[in-house]
Each structure stands twice: as C-alpha cells, then as structure tokens.
C-alpha cells in the first residue's frame, strides 16, 4: 500500500515551505495597492456619471479638448525619446572606453535624483528671458533680445524632458553596452572590419534587445510627463498633456470615473507602443551578448 507523505513535505518538495511564505506580505501589499486600484479604476471608468456603459470613453473621444491630449503628448514624447536614445548610443560607446567613467555617471545621475520639479525651477531661471542661456545667445549675436522664448511653451517641456530623460537613457544604454564582450569587437577588428562595420554588424544586433527596452522605458516616462508640462509649458494649450487632463478630471472636477477612464487610455497608449516596439524586436538577433566558449 502506498504511504502518503505529510502535506507539509509534499508542499516542500514543490518549493512551498515556511521560507516561501515570506513572499506573501509583499505580494499581498502589491495586490492591494497596485492590482486592485487598477482593476477598480477600470471598473469605475465604465460607471460614468450619465449612467451609460461607455459614456466616459465616448466623452473623451468626442471632446477635442480631451482627445487632442493624446496627440499633444505624443508630439512631445516621441521626438524626445528618439533624440535621447540616438544620442545616448554614440556617447555610451565613447564613455565605454573611458577610464574615469564614474565622474561622468555621477554628474548625470544628479538630474535624475533631483527630479523634474527642481529641474523645472532651475530651467525657469536659466532658460528664462533674463537667464544665462538666452543672455549667452544674445551676446554671441545669434539672436536679438526677445526673439526666442524657451519657457512656458513647447520647447520648455521638450528641454526638460531631454535634461531628465537623457541621463536615464544614457545610463541604461551604458549598462547594456558594457555587457557586450569586448572580445567580439576585437575579433571583428582582427578580421579587418572598420569601426562603422563593427558597429553595424557586431554591436547593433547585440544591442538591439537592450535598446528596445531602453526605448520603451524612456518613452513611457516621457509620455507620463506631468510637473514640467505644468511649470515649464503652457498647460492650457500647447502642452496640455494627457496626465494634466486626468489630473484635472480627478482633482478639479472630482469626476473620478472620467479620471480613471483617462488614466486607462493613457496606460493603453503606452501599452500599444511598448508592444509594437517589443514585437519589432523579434526581427533582430536574440541571443547571448558574451563570446567565448560554452
């Protein structure tokens, strides 16, 4: 007759014992504070004030003041992300060979740490009409005073997204670039490949998966821009981004169902974009970025 082991031993054999239970508090907390609010927000977004099922979504997509925010945000987030990623790659390739990387990475981590609000206040001083930047351009004779404005418009938000976004993109790219075995490049160089050919045929395919993830993270961050769009932009018009619309619905009109619907639309746009980028990643090489035996 078959002897049945005690339940605790059978569970332990599958990896479930006292130690595994340590994961429960954190998991339950995230279910309560992350999964549940998302589900609740989704449910709430289908409970509009007028009582119909799709009222909030119909309202969003029929009101130009609301649906235009999708395009406004894309017009900011997409160019900024492309510029940040395409600048970060060559810079990361140079810095990779640098001895004192840490000085530069420390300088670049400062704007990320200080955050968008402080950068916005600094930019209001620095890029403002009487700021050092405009003064320098005027004294070089490139512009006359009052000819260009860099705050309280599209460019203010754009620049702030570059200043906080570029270090983030660069540090992420640098960690991927440093993960590629230098022996692969040396082998290609030994076989006579020039720098451009080495980049095109060795590094780019190996870097592509990491670059796709970097692009997604940078885009998602730029797409949810909030404080700098208010402080450095024109939040009533040209830089009325989608998070401002969601905030106003929730905390100025107290229309939580509509705010939830806007937050869901914001998440959906980000998700569609991420899926598109990660799907196109499949067209590229996927495999180990380390050379050698094994």
């Amino acid at each position: 007759m078959e002897t049945r082991l005690p339940l605790s031993l059978r569970l332990a054999a599958r990896g479930l014992d006292g130690v595994t239970l340590l994961v429960l508090p954190a998991a339950l907390m995230l279910v309560a504070l992350f999964i549940y609010p998302f589900g609740y927000g989704l449910w709430l977004s289908f409970q509009p004030k007028d009582g119909s099922l799709l009222g909030n979504y119909l309202k969003f997509f029929s009101d130009a003041f609301l649906y235009n925010t999708i395009g406004t945000t894309l017009a900011l987030a997409l160019p900024v992300t492309l510029i940040n990623v395409f600048t970060a790659v060559p810079v990361a390739f140079r810095v990779r060979k640098m001895k004192n990387q840490r000085v530069l990475t420390t300088i670049l981590v400062v704007p990320i740490t200080l955050g968008t609000v402080l950068v916005a206040e600094g930019m209001l001083n620095y890029f403002g009409p009487q700021g050092w930047f405009i003064r320098a351009l005027v004294s070089f004779g490139w512009f006359s005073p009052g000819e260009i404005r860099l705050v309280h418009n599209y460019w203010g938000v754009f620049l702030s997204l570059v200043i906080t976004g570029f270090p983030f993109t660069f540090l992420l790219t640098l960690s991927y670039v440093s993960g590629i075995d230098p022996a692969l490049e040396q082998a290609a160089a030994t076989l006579g490949a020039r720098a451009a050919a080495r980049f095109r045929h060795i590094f780019l395919p190996l870097l592509m998966p990491g670059l796709a993830i970097t692009f997604c993270l940078a885009f998602v961050q730029a797409y949810s821009v909030f404080p700098s769009a208010v402080l450095l932009g024109a939040p009533a018009g040209p830089t009325r981004v989608i998070s401002i619309a969601a905030y106003q619905a929730a905390f100025e009109q107290y229309d939580y169902p509509l705010a939830s619907a806007i937050a869901m639309i914001m998440g959906a746009v980000q998700l569609v974009f991420v899926i598109a980028v990660l799907a196109s990643r499949r067209l590229f090489y996927r495999g180990p970025a380390a050379g050698g035996k094994g």
């Binding site: 990896g15 340590l22 508090p25 995230l30 810079v91 400062v110 209001l124 993830i213 404080p227 905390f251």
Partner: protein, 282 residues
C-alpha cells in the same frame, strides 16, 4: 610618417562631435543648478549677468513663508516610514524569491516588475481614487502607502541577485552547528545581507525624497513632502520673491544630494536606473 586620410579626419570629427554633445549637456546642467544657487543668495537680480549683491536673508524668509520646519519633519516621517516598511516587506520577499523555486514564481516576478515599469502618474490616479474613498487620501498614511508601491519592488529586485550570490551552504553550516532560525538569521544572514540592504534602502530614501507624482496625488495640506511644497511654490510663482523659492529649492537640493553622496559610496550610479533591467528575450 603619419598620414591623415579622409577616414581619419572623419573619425576624429565624429569623436569631437560626440564629446561636444557631452560637454554641452554638462555645461547647461551646471548652468541650471548654478542659477538656482546664485539666485538663492542674490539680494537683487534683474537684467544682468550676476546679482547686484549677495545675502542669506532669503533662507530665513523661505523658512518662515513655506513653513519649511514642518514640511521637513513631514518629509522625514514619510521617508523614514517608507524606508523601514519597504525593507521589512522587500527583504524577506527577496529572500524567498532567491532561495525557492515554486509554482507561480514567474507571475509573482511580473507583479514585482510592473510597478517599476508603469509610470507613477498612470497608476497613481486610480490608486489615489481608492485611497480617497477609503479615507486614507490626504493623510500621511496614504502618502506612505502610495510610496511603497514602487519602493518594495525596487528593494526586491536589487536584493534578489545579492542574496543569490550568498552561498546557501553558509546557512546550512549554521544549521548543522545547531543554530535555530532566529539565531541563524541574526548572526549569519543579517551580517551577510547588511551591505545590500543598506545600499537598497539608501536608494529608496533618495528616490522617496524626490518622488513627486505619487506624493502629489495622495497628499493633503498637512502631509506634503518637500518636493510637493516646492512644486506648489513654483506653481504660484509671482506670489513670493523668486529668490525665496530658490532658497527653498536649495534646501530640497541639499537634502537630496547629501543622501545621494552617502548612497554613492555603496552603489554604482548606473544602479540608480537599471532597477528594471531584465534578461532580454527570456
């Protein structure tokens, strides 16, 4: 003799251009921070490269106008609670994730990754809605709970590789010599884990001081942290002297950077952003 070909000149132009971008970025960054520093000490600064004179009076007026004493106390209460709680939730979970293989581990890993990948504004609005309906919105506990959502996964993801590189045989040896779970934890595991715990909690501290979106969406008048108070000050610019706002910005900057300098003794700057780095394609 060295001869310069068109290819060599192209290559050095390219290298110069790349460094020019880096220098331009760093110079403008220093300008942005430098203008806040200069302005906070300026007695009067209008239409000139540098202020007419220097003073420290704005720090006193900012301290009174913005009630910085109260704001700083709130900030450290929130940050302290977030640091302690994310350690208490995160480290045991990371230990279980590193040492055990169980059904549903992949789904759990996804649960820990998502709050770091989804931007705070996107999940902050539904979260704030739930917190306000449960009566926690606007209170300090609401702010603490909201801030835990990204910090607990952050601690878990930093601690998993750290715990994995500790040899499990060390724990087994402690057991062989008769240590109970508690003694093993206190005398063996804790000292080995300490550097990783310290590093991850310092990063949590820096990130929580600077976390704007979640605090902004959940804070009420009495539970504002420094960064949210700074936002409202900049938002209402024109009501107060700009130097006063800059003095407050300096208080915020010093508070953040002191902890950053301490944190950078234990971690590499790249670790500040690579928290969500996954193995691609797996």
């Amino acid at each position: 003799m060295m001869r310069w070909t068109a290819r060599d000149i192209g290559a050095s132009l390219w290298i110069t251009a790349v460094w020019a971008v880096v220098v331009l970025f760093v110079v403008n960054l220093c300008g942005i921070i430098g203008s806040v520093v200069t302005s906070s000490f300026a007695s009067r600064w209008l239409r000139s490269w540098f202020p007419d004179g220097y003073t420290i009076k704005w720090y006193f007026s900012a301290w009174d106008e913005f009630q910085l004493g109260d704001v700083l106390i709130t900030t450290f209460q929130v940050v302290g609670a977030v640091v302690v709680l994310s350690g208490l939730f995160g480290v045991p979970a990371a230990y279980a994730m590193a040492r055990r293989d169980f059904p549903g581990k992949k789904a759990l890993m996804l649960l820990f990754l998502l709050p770091l990948l989804v931007p705070p504004v996107t999940f902050g609005i539904p979260l704030a809605t739930v917190l306000y309906q449960s009566g926690l919105g606007g209170t300090m506990w609401g702010v603490i709970l909201a801030n835990l959502v990204p910090t607990v996964p952050f601690v878990i993801l930093i601690m998993i590789p750290f715990i994995e590189q500790i040899d499990p045989r060390v724990e087994a040896a402690a057991r062989v010599f008769g240590a109970g779970t508690f003694r093993m934890f206190v005398y063996v595991l804790l000292p080995l884990l300490m550097p990783g715990v310290l590093a991850s909690l310092l990063l949590v501290l820096v990130r929580t001081i600077a976390m704007f979106e979640l605090t902004f969406l959940t804070a009420g008048p009495t539970s504002q942290t420094l960064v949210v108070a700074l936002y409202y000050a900049v938002f209402a610019a024109g009501v107060r002297a700009v130097q006063s706002i800059d003095a407050m910005a300096m208080v915020y900057m010093v508070t953040t950077l002191v902890w950053l300098v301490i944190a950078l003794r234990y971690v590499n700057p790249t670790q500040m952003v690579t928290r969500a780095k996954q193995q691609p394609g797996r």
